[in-house]
Symmetry: C2
Subunit: 384 residues, 2 copies
């Protein structure tokens, strides 16, 4: 198997698996129970939250543990009332798009041809009624990293203007860091966000667990009511094993982020060179700010799904567009937003590298991709 879809899912790291194991059948207690081993377990759980928070420059008390990025995003959007105006980029995850539309008005900021947000358009659309801004750290389709701290500065200026004008409309900034975490430094203060979504399953952690960072001043509304866990913001018995594994995974990712960046950038460069002579190939995403593991390309005239099926027969696994949506057949809004035409979208492939790749399996992947494209070309010519 040559796995080229690390943005869709990652295998559980051995360190994360080890971190989880004692909490399955031994330290399995309910952390809310009154006796000592349960209280100890609560301390370990809180310490693990502290460790997760530390990686993003926050405190454990700033984190609400959730069942994953989608729930985190939904919880962040609990701030949006039905009368609120929201502002999002054109390259957001379906969870962000769906939630942004719950408000009275949702404006969408344009991106440039590389998928990077247009700051002038952002500034034009950020108005006195905007209550909630959500921009991803990196788009899942293109991997283009967004200028989050620049956006935060514009938001800060608008907040100051409102304060001086005596306007009471609140304004919050959420960033979905599902893609990007583990591949670049992510610190909430440097980013300047009020809310940050992170996810374990994309960084070799367990599935079914994520977190929402919530700055102190943000009056989040609980979406799941019950026993009052997670400071009353997200009830339900704590998933201790998952959080222990999440902590191990995010710490491991943070520890190796620089070396992994370098390694992936080199691998990406190698694969880029190997695929540069594909017919009419166009590489997508910002050449400089794209995540180091993303290689997105379009082969106009080809049917990307056919190529994927041809490659799966060779045990090479890659994606078209985002794998996050269970609703198939929807054209990728991100690829439309960067101005691709239908043929370019239909021929687009997303390769995302990670721990399962090395120079040798990528050289092999390149050969197999070339072969699949040639075979498909011959098939099409035979039809023509």
């Amino acid at each position: 198997m040559i796995y080229l879809d690390h943005a869709a899912a990652t295998p559980l790291a051995e360190s994360a698996r080890r971190a989880m194991t004692p909490y399955l059948a031994e330290k399995f207690f309910n952390p809310s129970a009154a006796y000592l081993p349960a209280a100890e377990l609560r301390r370990e759980y809180e310490a693990a939250k502290e460790r997760i928070a530390h990686v993003i420059g926050a405190k454990g008390a700033d984190l609400v543990i959730t069942s994953g990025a989608t729930e985190s995003i939904n919880l962040a959007f609990s701030l949006v009332s039905s009368s609120a105006e929201t502002l999002i980029s054109a390259v957001e995850h379906p969870a962000v798009r769906a939630n942004a539309q719950r408000g009275a008005k949702c404006q969408i900021v344009q991106v440039d041809a590389n998928g990077r947000i247009d700051l002038a358009d952002f500034q034009a659309k950020l108005n006195k009624n905007t209550q909630f801004v959500s921009v991803c750290l990196a788009s899942s389709e293109l991997g283009t990293v967004q200028p989050i701290s620049d956006i935060a500065r514009l938001i800060h200026a608008e907040r100051q203007r409102r304060a001086l004008a005596g306007e009471a409309t609140p304004l919050y900034f959420h960033c979905d860091a599902s893609q990007g975490l583990g591949l670049m430094e992510v610190k909430v203060a440097r980013l300047g966000v009020d809310l940050l979504t992170i996810n374990a399953a994309k960084i070799y952690g367990p599935k079914g667990v994520g977190a929402l960072y919530v700055a102190h001043r943000v009056p989040l509304r609980p979406q799941v009511l019950g026993g009052g866990q997670e400071m009353g913001l997200r009830s339900g018995t704590e998933n201790v094993p998952a959080v222990m594994a999440f902590a191990a995974a995010i710490e491991e990712a943070a520890k190796h982020v620089s070396s992994e960046q370098r390694r992936l950038r080199q691998l990406k460069q190698q694969l880029h060179q190997d695929l540069a002579d594909l017919p009419n190939v166009r590489f997508l995403g910002h050449p400089k700010t794209q995540l180091p593991n993303y290689l997105v390309l379009s082969l106009p005239g080809f049917d990307a799904e056919r190529l994927i099926f041809a490659l799966e027969a060779q045990e090479v696994y890659l994606a078209t567009g985002s794998a996050c949506s269970a609703n198939k057949g929807i054209k990728s809004p991100a690829l439309e937003a960067i101005g691709l035409n239908d043929a370019e979208i239909a021929g687009s492939l997303r390769i995302t590298l990670g721990k399962l790749n090395d120079s040798s399996n990528l050289a092999e992947a390149a050969k197999l991709i070339h072969a699949a494209v040639r075979a498909e070309q011959q098939r099409m010519q035979g039809q023509g």
Copy 2:
């Protein structure tokens, strides 16, 4: 360790751990991905849902997988609009109570001295405006099993009355089966419910996963928006390992339910006899319909928390009231509802048996409980 708190948490069964393992680092794909191993994974996931559903007499398509009972309960209550009237019993979980109060009016049905719902009071309170009824299969504090199918019959009669009278007000029946599943047969058709909450963590399955059974006609509103997973009702990448383990755990529980019932009933009887001569002891819960693993007792005049701390020093772990609430210091509504006075509530202990118990460790537990009570008695007399 002598663990007497199986209603609060259970260790992961070896079969469930084995069922989960291949999905951690090998079959780790995103089930929404386009390539074959991902599609195979989706089939395995759907098959596991089918197996879970089968145990409760439903179809896989009737289940929405959630992060646990609390989320399932919240999702069920998505049917309750702010103008709706709700009807719940006096012995519900905090998640049910909190959600029921989101409606315009929440009525609470009395229970008898054993914690069993008063059907006459239920009938009196079920009126033409009631839109949502929620009654637990067994209360977590008392283990008293509720007459769910009798309640379902009353609800059915009210629905028929509405239909004949041309009244359009809908009426739904939700049952929280978090306690009871694995200890008795649970079949949705026999219970007559529209919605049923089940949970893996209480039946030796993994933490962080549960399900909501939803009958066909019930127009549930999604609470978590995004990629459209779980038939659009609960977005978020599927937690495949947890669901595989959930399926293994619920199947194992169902397979052994009769023998485990017998075994637990015998153990309970043994412990009941061993504790019957505690000073002024009163056993709580319905003598016939209490779950076979519940032994709830009150020692008026004693401080149950002090006893728990004394016993934890002997590595005997048991509970006061419900361990589900992270908000401490709240008087148990269930124990108040059965008419206990403050001294009886303060002296109440909940023992819930399970796989970690046998005749020998329960005999030992009884001795240690007697010793703890004697020591506490002497301390109190010394103070007096």
